[in-house]
């Protein structure tokens, strides 16, 4: 009874105009951010990590004292150009779909002799340290700048990864009942002042891929999509997803395939 009454009240007031509702439709704040995003991207500190990543790729390192120049990113051993734009993809040697960083970590293990445990122990950048896979992923990504995204959907496992990724994207759980769609399922919304693209739409999905790996202004550190998804899940109040796990590769398959056909611009700059 009580509830019905209040519901009626609420419905009655829903039509009351919000004093600043107009400000929400055409977002001048977002427009201002976009204008200066261009200025910031013109000179991007991410380039400092591209240089570092290239050195790490070419230098013999690890217990096996090998470089990564024989690493197969999906276009054949050692082919870096354009590879990032065609991942995640299925790799027969491991029987699973891998995103770029997952594949780089795989190569560091198999070619150079590093262990997953040591690479996964502290995989994200902080003020004093940028993990090697982050720099290498930045280098690899830069070699796909200007290339159209074309994450393949040929192998059955690539299709399965897309389908699983979609389910993961929509999965609502955790203390706050959030899914990825809580922030990225509706057009034109923002959290605080940060615009939230709707990743279920192809024209906006590109914003999940574009600008990553990204130089993050907060903290002034380099981050990859592995970090982005990890921190989304933290804020989603979920438990923690495994670094370079199949779950994250599947989610990245969903996001990248949704963006296929659009031009990837290389490492970017993020708030």
């Amino acid at each position: 009874m009580r509830q019905a009454l209040v519901l009626g009240l609420v419905a009655g007031f829903a039509a009351a105009p919000s004093p600043q509702a107009a400000a929400q439709t055409e977002d001048p704040v977002a427009a201002e951010f976009d204008k200066f995003r261009e200025v910031l991207e013109k000179d991007n500190p991410a380039e400092l990590w591209e240089v570092k990543g290239e050195q790490l790729w070419k230098t013999p390192r690890g217990p096996k004292n090998a470089s990564l120049e024989k690493c197969d990113l999906g276009l054949g051993p050692g082919v870096v150009k354009g590879a990032y734009a065609q991942m995640p993809r299925y790799f027969a040697d491991v029987g699973r779909v891998m995103d770029a960083e997952a594949r780089i970590v795989h190569c560091m293990i198999t070619l150079q002799g590093f262990t997953y445990a040591e690479l996964a122990k502290a995989p994200f950048s902080n003020a004093t340290r940028t993990p090697d896979p982050v720099s290498i992923t930045t280098y690899v990504a830069a070699q796909s700048a200007g290339v159209k995204l074309a994450a393949p959907q040929n192998h059955a496992q690539e299709k399965a990864a897309y389908a699983a990724g979609k389910e993961i994207f929509f999965y609502r759980a955790g203390s706050f009942d959030f899914s990825c769609t809580s922030c990225h399922g509706v057009d034109g919304q923002r959290i605080r002042t940060q615009p939230l693209p709707n990743f279920t739409k192809p024209e906006q999905a590109i914003r999940s891929v574009q600008g990553w790996p990204g130089y993050r202004m907060t903290g002034g550190v380099m981050h990859t999509l592995q970090w982005r998804l990890n921190d989304c899940y933290r804020q989603q109040r979920f438990p923690e997803p495994g670094y370079t796990s199949e779950t994250l590769s599947a989610l990245l398959t969903y996001l990248t395939v949704n963006s296929n056909g659009q031009v990837y611009k290389g490492p970017g700059i993020k708030r």
């Binding site: 009580r2 699973r96 990724g165 203390s175 923002r190 804020q235 923690e240």
Partner: protein
């Protein structure tokens, strides 16, 4: 690797069979994958991956459940609202403003509940221009709706459990989830409903 993966997928699927509603292959694979790939960290245990009835229904119906189901879920959620012990809904709006500003709480790097993250999604007080737009503006909440006890009670319950009114609301169930205490919810209710709060100026 492949065999192991399949075995784990199967095991995971069995584990999750209880909460998977009408599972297709993709859904079953996804749930098994998540069950295998996530790990507990800090206060965020693996139990958080298990959907309750509301989450499962919203997931299944894409946040748009049939009317009867929505009504049933809402009344269940409403029945679980714990009302203030002293019967008063309004706390201190100044403290409420701080709670509304604070975006921390319940994540794996938190110790428990902290703030309400309210400004992340709502316009509230006039002094803060960096507000989100996921939820409706709450500016002049009391002034527009009246300051009566029924509205106080509604605001309190909405913060305690938003799903008591909209089954698949995007708003967290702060009281239900243990993310905010009774005192904090009263402070937030005061922020919205106290005639002296800047929200109502």
């Amino acid at each position: 690797m492949k065999l192991k993966t399949l075995a784990m997928l199967a095991a995971g699927a069995a584990l999750l069979a209880s909460c998977a509603t009408g599972p297709g292959d993709a859904r079953r694979d996804a749930l098994a994958m998540m069950q295998r790939d996530f790990h507990a960290r800090g206060i965020a245990g693996m139990d958080r991956l298990k959907q309750d009835e509301v989450q499962a229904a919203c997931n299944k119906y894409n946040d748009n459940p049939p009317k009867e189901l929505a009504a049933k879920l809402q009344s269940q959620q409403y029945a679980g609202v714990k009302w203030p012990q002293d019967g008063k809904y309004l706390g201190d709006w100044k403290s409420g403003e701080k709670i509304a500003q604070n975006g921390r709480g319940m994540a794996w790097n938190d110790k428990g509940g902290v703030g309400g993250s309210c400004y992340n999604c709502h316009q509230i007080g006039p002094a803060t221009t960096s507000f989100g737009t996921i939820g409706p503006s709450l500016y002049q909440f009391g002034k527009l709706r009246g300051y009566g006890t029924d509205i106080q009670r509604y605001a309190y319950a909405k913060i305690y459990n938003a799903k008591a009114y909209t089954a698949c609301s995007q708003m967290p169930r702060f009281g239900h989830a243990g993310a905010l205490t009774e005192a904090q919810i009263k402070d937030l209710t005061a922020l919205l409903m106290d005639p002296a709060s800047p929200v109502n100026q």
